[in-house]
C-alpha cells in the first residue's frame, strides 16, 4: 500500500480519524450510556487531527497510486473540517439534552462525515471524490433526522436525501462522461487533456454536470431549494455543521478537481457559467433573506448568498481567487458556527425562540450573547475590522485581477442588500424592548466554542497576514 514510511507519515491525519471512528464504534457497542466519553473523545480526536494536519502541512506528496494528495492546501482543509467539527461538538454537549437526541451515533456520524470530507479534499481521482462525497452525504442525511420523534427533522432529512441523491446522480453522470471522453478518472491526466478536449461537447457536458452536482452541495442558486428547509428542520448544531464544513468540503472538491487548471487559465471556459451562478446566488440569497423571520432560514439564505461570493473567487480562476476562497471559507465557517451556536444556546426545549423577534431586547437580558451575535452579524455583513470583510476584500481583489470588475461591483451591491437583514437582528436585539421573558439554559462548553470563534474572527480580521501566508505557501 505505502511505498515507504514517509508516505505513511503523510497519511497520518486520515489514519487517526479512521482509528478514532473504530474506537468510537466499539465503545458505543459495549457501553450504551457513555455519552460524556463520546463527546469529549470526539473533541480531542478532532483537535488532535486538526493539529497534526497543520503540523504536517509541508509534507506535500501524492500517494496510494496517485489517488490521494497530502500536504499543502489539502491539510489546511483537513484542519478546517476538524476544528469546525470540534466546535460543533462543544456546542452539541448541552444542546443534545435540550433536543432530546442523546445518541452516541451522533458523534460517530460526525466523525465519518469528517472522514468523507477529508477524502474529498485530498482526492486526486474522481472516484475518491465520489467516495468521500457519499460518505459525507450519507452521514449528513442521518444527522439531519437524528431525532426520529420530530416530524420536521424527518422531513428535512428526507428532503435532503432525495435532492442530495439527485445531485449525486448528476455528479456520477458527469464523471462517466468525463471518463468516456478522456479515458481516465485521474484528475491530473484529465487536466492535462483539458484544453484539447474542451471542444468536445460530451466532455464539456460532463464537466458542467459535475459542477452542477457540486453547485447543489455548495448551496448555490438555482440548486439551493433544499437549503432553507434542511437548515430549519435539522438540529441547530447540525445546521451549523452543514453550512460550514459541508460547504467547505464541496468547495474543496471543486478546488482539487480544477486546481491544475487554474494556473493555466483553462478554466476561463467555465468562467461565464460560474459568474452567472455567483451573481444569482448573491442577489437571490440577499433579497430573499430580507423577508425571513425564522433565524435559521435567514442564515440559510445568507448561506446561499455567501456561496455566491465564494464562487466569484472560483470564477476569477487565479491563485488569489483560490487563496481568497480558502480564507473566506475559514472566516465564514467561524461566523456561521458562532451564529448557529448562539441560536442553539437560545433555542428552547420545544424548538421555540427561533423567530428573530424572540431576540428583542436581548442586549438587556443577555448582553454577552447579544454583543457576540452583533459582532458576528457585522462580520457577515462584511464590515471591517472583522474576518468577513477581509475575505470579501481578497475575493474581490482576485476578481478585479482577472478583469471581472463587474462581478466585484455586483458583489458589493449585494453586500449592501445583505447588510439590511444582518443589521435587522442587531436592531431587534439592541433597539427594541421585549415583551416576553427568555429562558436560556447556560452552556459553558457552548460559550467556550463561541469565544473561540469570535476571537478568531477578530484576530483574522486585524492580522490576516500570517494565515494568508500559510495559505499562499500551501498553494
Amino acid at each position: 500500500m505505502f511505498n515507504n514510511l514517509q508516505e505513511f507519515y503523510n497519511f497520518i491525519p486520515m489514519i487517526l480519524i479512521g482509528a478514532g471512528i473504530l474506537i468510537s464504534v466499539s465503545v458505543e457497542l459495549f457501553s450504551k450510556k457513555n455519552l460524556v466519553f463520546m463527546s469529549w473523545f470526539s473533541i480531542i480526536l478532532f483537535f488532535v487531527v486538526g493539529m497534526v494536519s497543520l503540523w504536517t502541512i509541508d509534507a506535500k506528496s501524492v500517494i496510494l497510486q496517485n489517488m490521494v494528495a497530502t500536504g499543502g492546501y489539502v491539510n489546511i482543509f483537513y484542519a478546517l473540517f476538524n476544528f469546525t467539527a470540534m466546535i460543533v461538538c462543544l456546542l452539541s454537549i448541552e444542546y443534545l439534552k435540550k433536543y432530546d437526541a442523546l445518541f452516541g451515533e451522533y458523534y460517530i456520524l460526525l466523525q465519518t462525515s469528517v472522514l468523507g470530507m477529508m477524502l474529498m479534499a485530498a482526492a486526486k481521482d474522481l472516484f475518491v471524490i465520489f467516495l468521500g462525497l457519499e460518505l459525507m452525504s450519507v452521514s449528513f442525511y442521518v444527522l439531519a433526522g437524528i431525532n426520529r420523534k420530530r416530524a420536521n427533522a424527518i422531513e428535512a432529512s428526507l428532503k435532503y436525501f432525495l435532492l442530495g441523491a439527485f445531485a449525486t446522480g448528476f455528479i456520477v453522470y458527469g464523471i462517466a462522461l468525463i471518463y468516456g471522453t478522456s479515458q481516465s478518472t485521474s484528475i491530473d491526466i484529465i487536466a492535462s487533456k483539458f484544453i484539447e478536449l474542451s471542444g468536445n461537447l460530451l466532455f464539456i457536458s460532463g464537466v458542467l454536470l459535475f459542477l452542477i452536482g457540486f453547485s447543489f452541495k455548495i448551496a448555490a442558486f438555482p440548486f439551493h431549494m433544499w437549503v432553507p428547509d434542511v437548515y430549519q428542520g435539522s438540529p441547530s448544531t447540525i445546521s451549523a455543521f452543514f453550512s460550514t464544513a459541508g460547504k467547505t468540503a464541496a468547495f474543496s472538491a471543486i478546488i482539487v478537481s480544477f486546481f491544475a487548471l487554474f494556473s493555466s487559465g483553462a478554466t476561463k471556459i467555465i468562467t461565464p457559467f460560474l459568474s452567472v451562478i455567483a451573481v444569482f446566488s448573491m442577489f437571490f440569497g440577499s433579497i430573499v433573506a430580507i423577508s425571513q423571520t425564522n433565524i435559521k432560514r435567514m442564515l440559510a439564505y445568507s448561506s446561499i448568498s455567501n456561496a455566491g461570493y465564494l464562487v466569484i473567487g472560483l470564477a476569477a480562476s487565479n491563485s488569489e481567487g483560490i487563496a481568497g476562497v480558502i480564507f473566506y471559507l475559514t472566516a465564514y465557517s467561524l461566523m456561521n458556527l458562532g451564529a448557529f451556536g448562539i441560536v442553539s444556546i437560545i433555542e428552547s426545549k420545544e424548538e421555540k425562540n427561533l423567530d428573530i423577534y424572540d431576540y428583542s431586547g436581548l442586549s438587556n437580558k443577555q448582553p454577552l450573547l447579544a454583543g457576540l451575535l452583533s459582532l458576528l452579524m457585522f462580520s457577515l455583513a462584511g464590515i471591517p475590522p472583522f474576518a468577513g470583510f477581509f475575505g470579501k476584500y481578497y475575493i474581490f481583489m482576485a476578481a478585479i485581477k482577472s478583469d471581472l470588475t463587474i462581478l466585484a461591483i455586483l458583489g458589493v451591491l449585494s453586500s449592501v442588500i445583505s447588510v439590511y437583514f444582518y443589521l435587522r437582528l442587531v436592531v431587534i436585539m439592541y433597539f427594541k424592548e421585549s415583551e416576553n421573558s427568555l429562558e436560556i439554559s447556560q452552556s459553558n462548553t457552548g460559550l467556550i466554542a463561541l469565544f473561540i470563534s469570535c476571537l478568531l474572527i477578530v484576530v483574522l480580521g486585524i492580522f490576516p497576514g500570517s494565515f494568508l501566508s500559510i495559505i499562499n505557501s500551501a498553494l
Binding site: 464590515i383 474581490f396 443589521l423 439592541y430 497576514g465
Partner: protein
C-alpha cells in the same frame, strides 16, 4: 525614516480607554463618565503635543509611522499628517471631550455603552484623518459606522431605528463602491510599480497616469462615497433624519466631525489622485454644490423644528466647502479647510444649544417658544452668538471661510465662470434670513407659553462647554492666520498636484 509613534498613541488612546471602560461594572456611572472624559482629554493633550511640534513650513507628511501590516497584499499600517489633517484632528480631539461633558446628565441609561461607543468613534475618526494607506483608511472609514449606528439607534429619538438604518445603508453603499475602486487602482499599480500597493504616497504617482475615461469612473466611485458623507445635494436625504433622531452628542459629532470626512476625502484623495477627472468634473460638482447651498438654505427656512433647521443649514454650509474645494485655487481651498473647522464649531454649538433647551422643555418646535430672552438671558446670548457665527458676521469665524471661498471661486480658472460665486453668495443672505428669523421667533416677542416662565438658564457645566468653542469662534474671526498658516503648504501642494499631473508621471520615469 524614523517612525514616530505619536499619531499611533493619539489614535489608539480612545480605543484603550473604551476597552478599560468595558471592564467597569455597569452601575458605576460616575466612574465611567470620568474615565471617558479622562481618556478624551489625554487624547486632546497628545494632539496638542503634535500641534506644537508640527512644522508648518514642510509640505510633506509628518509624524509618519509605517510598518508592513498584511504581507500577502502589501498593506502597510501607514499614518502621517499634513496641515489639513492636523486641523481636522485638532477639531476632533477638541469636540469629543466637550460632547462627553454636554451629555453628562442627558444620557441616563446605558451610560457605559454610550461612553464606550463615543471613544470608539473617536478612534475611528482620528484614524480616518491620519491614514495614508487606502486599505487602512477604508477600515477606519467603515468601522466608524458601527459606533455611530448604535449611538443613533440606542439613544436617539422616536424614529431612531429608521434613521440609524438609513444612515448605515446610505454610507455603506457609497463606501463599498469606493472599495472596488481602491482595489482597482491597487491592481492597476501592478502594471506600473511592479507590485500591488494601496500606499497613498505611491498611488499618487500611479493614479494620475490612468486614462481620463477610467479616471472619471474612479473619481465617481470615490466621489459618491464622499458625496454621501458630506452630504452633497442630492445625496443629503439621510442627514436630516440622522440629525434629528440622534442624541445631542451624536448630532454634534455628526455635524462637527463626521461630515468633514466627506470633504476631507474629496480634498485628500479625489483631487490629487484623479487630476484630469477633477478638472473635467469640477464644474458639475460645483453646480451640485451651489444647488446644495441654495436648496439647503431654502429648506432650512421653512423648518418648524429647530434641530432640522440646523441640519439643513449643514447641507448649505457644506456646499460652500465643496465649492471651495472644486474651485481649485489657494484661496478657495484654504477657505474650504477653515470653513470645515468653522462649521464644526458653529453648528456644533448650535446643536449643543438646541440640546440644552430641549432637555428643559422636551420640544424643538420653534412655535412653542417666544420671548425666552427675558427668562434665560445667557442661553439667548449664546444662541445669538452661535447663529451670527454661522451666518458669517465679519469678526467671527464664518465670515473668513465664506469670504475666502467666494473670492477663490470668483477667480477660479477651473470653474471659469463668476455665476457660481453669484449664486453661492446668495446662500450667505439666506443663512442670515433663516437663522435670524429662527432667533427672533425663539428669543424675542411676547412670552406666550406659560411653561417657559419657569425655564432655568444654562448651568455652569453647559456654559463651560460653550466657552472654549466661542473662544475659537472669535479667534478664527479675528486672527485666522494661526490656522491658515498650518494648512497653506499642504493646500498649495494639492493644487500643484492637480495642475501638473504630467509632472507627476515625469517623476515616475526618473
Amino acid at each position: 525614516m524614523e517612525n514616530n509613534f505619536l499619531l499611533t498613541y493619539l489614535i489608539f488612546t480612545p480605543l484603550i480607554g473604551s476597552l478599560i471602560i468595558l471592564s467597569v461594572k455597569n452601575e458605576k456611572t460616575e466612574l465611567i463618565k470620568n474615565l471617558g472624559l479622562f481618556f478624551s482629554i489625554i487624547t486632546f493633550i497628545v494632539s496638542l503635543i503634535i500641534y506644537f511640534s508640527f512644522d508648518s513650513n514642510n509640505s510633506d507628511f509628518q509624524f509618519i509611522h509605517k510598518f508592513k501590516w498584511i504581507d500577502g497584499i502589501n498593506v502597510f499600517y501607514f499614518v502621517g499628517i499634513d496641515g489639513i489633517s492636523l486641523l481636522l484632528i485638532l477639531l476632533t480631539t477638541f469636540i469629543t471631550p466637550l460632547t462627553l461633558i454636554s451629555s453628562w446628565s442627558s444620557i441616563e441609561h446605558k451610560v457605559k455603552e454610550f461612553t464606550f461607543f463615543m471613544l470608539l468613534l473617536e478612534t475611528g475618526m482620528l484614524g480616518v484623518f491620519a491614514s495614508l494607506d487606502l486599505f487602512l483608511f477604508y477600515i477606519f472609514w467603515e468601522a466608524m459606522l458601527i459606533p455611530m449606528y448604535f449611538i443613533i439607534g440606542i439613544w436617539g429619538g422616536r424614529e431612531r431605528i429608521y434613521a440609524a438604518i438609513k444612515f448605515f445603508l446610505y454610507t455603506m453603499l457609497g463606501s463599498l463602491l469606493m472599495l472596488v475602486a481602491i482595489i482597482w487602482i491597487a491592481v492597476y499599480s501592478v502594471n506600473i510599480l511592479g507590485g500591488f500597493t494601496t500606499d497613498f504616497t505611491e498611488l499618487l504617482k500611479v493614479a494620475p497616469t490612468i486614462t481620463r475615461d477610467l479616471q472619471i469612473w474612479m473619481f465617481l466611485a470615490f466621489g459618491l462615497s464622499f458625496a454621501i458623507k458630506v452630504p452633497l445635494f442630492p445625496f443629503h436625504t439621510w442627514l436630516p433624519d440622522a440629525h434629528v433622531q440622534a442624541p445631542t452628542a451624536g448630532s454634534v459629532i455628526l455635524a462637527g466631525v463626521l461630515l468633514k470626512m466627506g470633504t476631507y476625502g474629496l480634498l485628500r484623495f479625489n483631487l490629487p489622485l484623479f487630476p484630469d477627472a477633477t478638472i473635467l468634473m469640477a464644474p458639475y460638482i460645483s453646480i451640485l454644490a451651489v444647488i446644495g447651498i441654495i436648496y439647503g438654505a431654502l429648506v432650512a427656512m421653512v423648518q418648524t423644528d429647530m434641530k432640522k433647521l440646523v441640519a439643513y443649514s449643514s447641507v448649505s454650509h457644506l456646499g460652500f466647502v465643496v465649492l471651495g474645494i472644486f474651485a481649485v485655487t489657494t484661496e478657495s481651498i484654504q477657505g474650504a479647510v477653515i470653513q470645515m473647522i468653522n462649521h464644526g464649531l458653529s453648528t456644533g454649538a448650535l446643536f449643543l444649544l438646541v440640546g440644552v433647551i430641549y432637555e428643559r422643555t422636551h420640544t424643538r418646535e420653534i412655535s412653542e417658544y417666544g420671548g425666552i430672552a427675558k427668562v434665560v438671558p445667557f442661553f439667548a446670548f449664546s444662541l445669538l452668538f452661535a447663529s451670527l457665527s454661522s451666518i458669517g458676521l465679519p469678526g467671527l469665524n464664518g465670515f473668513i471661510g465664506e469670504f475666502l471661498i467666494l473670492l477663490g471661486s470668483f477667480k477660479s480658472g477651473v470653474l471659469n465662470s463668476w455665476w457660481f460665486t453669484v449664486f453661492a453668495a446668495s446662500g450667505v443672505i439666506f443663512a442670515a434670513v433663516y437663522l435670524l428669523w429662527m432667533y427672533q421667533r425663539v428669543a424675542f416677542g411676547e412670552l406666550k407659553n406659560p411653561k417657559l416662565e419657569k425655564l432655568t438658564d444654562m448651568n455652569s457645566r453647559e456654559i463651560f462647554v460653550l466657552i472654549p468653542i466661542f473662544i475659537f469662534i472669535v479667534w478664527i474671526g479675528i486672527y485666522p492666520s494661526t490656522f491658515l498658516n498650518l494648512s497653506e503648504k499642504a493646500v498649495k501642494k494639492v493644487i500643484y498636484q492637480v495642475n501638473n499631473p504630467i509632472n507627476v508621471s515625469n517623476i515616475l520615469e526618473k
